[in-house]
């Protein structure tokens, strides 16, 4: 479920835009250095894959389902900056072309999921790479759980940073005592499914890369 515009206070999203803009500029520079006939379609395809992955439902007992983010998979397989730029493009496309999510929540999503999630996933993947299956699973799990922690912290901070004279919240109303368990517990469990899919996806990507390299 995406956070729509109107729940995150400008006191938070404006500094986050500043931080995200710096990282986007640096990421674009890194990608642009190699942005040519080979890398531009590659980034576009990663963006499309990341976008479409979010439509794959991860079945849960009881007939419900959750959706894959694919950040851990992208970071483990293609690196932090590719994952960050692709995920940011996806959030921008979802917000500006489909009205899904918000423009003011874009930097929070991009930093939490695209950057911190990708950074942690890539770091854990590299640290555990001697055991490839464990490394991919851990990358998928942390790629989902760390962003949920950061988003819970950001949402829970809203009543503290934006309230009226009487102390009543003006944006998202719940504090950390609600947001942390509400987001962390389900995501810790959903992370198991994301981890399993990251193992399958990561191994498949390795095989496909070899095939396309040899073509």
């Amino acid at each position: 479920m995406h956070i729509p515009d109107g729940f995150i206070a400008p006191q938070m999203y404006l500094p986050l835009y500043g931080l995200a803009a710096g990282l986007w500029a640096y990421g674009a520079k890194r990608v642009a250095r190699e942005l040519d006939e080979a890398t531009l379609p590659w980034l576009a395809a990663l963006t499309a894959a990341s976008f479409a992955l979010s439509f794959i439902a991860l079945p849960l007992p009881g007939g419900t389902s959750a959706h894959v983010t694919g950040v851990g998979l992208l970071a483990a397989s293609f690196g932090i900056w590719n994952a960050f730029m692709a995920a940011s493009m996806v959030f921008a496309i979802q917000a500006l072309l489909f009205g899904d999510g918000g423009v003011t929540t874009l930097p929070l999503n991009a930093l939490a999921m695209g950057f911190a999630g990708a950074l942690a996933a890539r770091g854990l993947y590299l640290a555990l790479r001697r055991w490839p299956i464990v490394a991919l699973f851990a990358a998928g799990w942390i790629g989902l759980c760390l962003p949920s922690l950061l988003i819970a912290l950001a949402l829970g901070a809203q009543p503290l940073i934006a309230h009226d004279a009487a102390g009543a919240p003006l944006y998202f109303p719940f504090g950390w005592s609600v947001t942390l368990p509400a987001l962390l517990i389900p995501h810790a469990l959903l992370g198991l499914g994301e981890g399993a899919l990251t193992v399958l996806g990561g191994r498949l990507i390795e095989r496909l890369r070899l095939r396309y390299r040899n073509d």
Partner: protein, 183 residues
């Protein structure tokens, strides 16, 4: 107004709307955007309501219950302010989507336009096929598919998706190379 100008205007108005905390100003803003939407007002309002209902509804109901439990009253000011703000900002976005060509708005950067066109066209193609996979699974199961079947379907869909994405990258690279796009 040019398309990049409209994009800038949309972002400025959205920023201003996000600062509003008075229900009267938010309602006035909502009225103004509905008037600007003209004949599309009803359709855009419905889309905005549908896009925000799940999150806003969940948070509003949970906060109403929490507030009632604490004070035996309802947080009417909060409900009005936040829901009007969320609706106003969503409506602005849907009006922008309906009236502005994002591809034209980003035309100031050739590479950004290329990236957007490639990413969006591939995204829509992949999304359509995933929907066909979902319908395919549904049509082949006389009863709702079990957990195991749905996991297998999700895994196969993800495998197909990654294969298609890498193939698309490979094909687009060859196509751009053969047409000398970056020369």
């Amino acid at each position: 107004m040019t398309e990049p100008g409209k994009l800038a205007a949309y972002l400025i108005i959205l920023l201003a709307a996000s600062w509003l905390t008075s229900p009267a100003w938010l309602a006035a803003g909502l009225g103004a955007v509905l008037m600007l939407s003209g004949l599309d007002a009803g359709r855009l309002l419905r889309r905005a309501l549908l896009a925000t209902a799940a999150f806003s509804g969940t948070v509003s109901l949970a906060y109403m219950a929490y507030y009632w439990w604490q004070t035996r009253s309802l947080p009417l000011d909060w409900l009005l302010t936040v829901n009007l703000r969320v609706l106003l900002m969503a409506l602005l976005t849907f009006l922008f989507i309906a009236r502005v060509d994002l591809f034209q708005a980003l035309a100031f950067s050739r590479r950004l336009s290329f990236l957007l066109v490639l990413a969006v066209s591939q995204s829509l193609g992949l999304k359509r096929t995933l929907e066909e996979f979902r319908l395919g699974l549904q049509s082949r199961c006389p009863r709702p598919a079990g957990l195991r079947a749905r996991y297998r379907a999700a895994a196969h869909a993800a495998a197909w998706l990654l294969d298609r994405a890498l193939a698309n990258a490979h094909e687009s690279a060859q196509a751009m190379q053969s047409r000398g796009v970056f020369r």
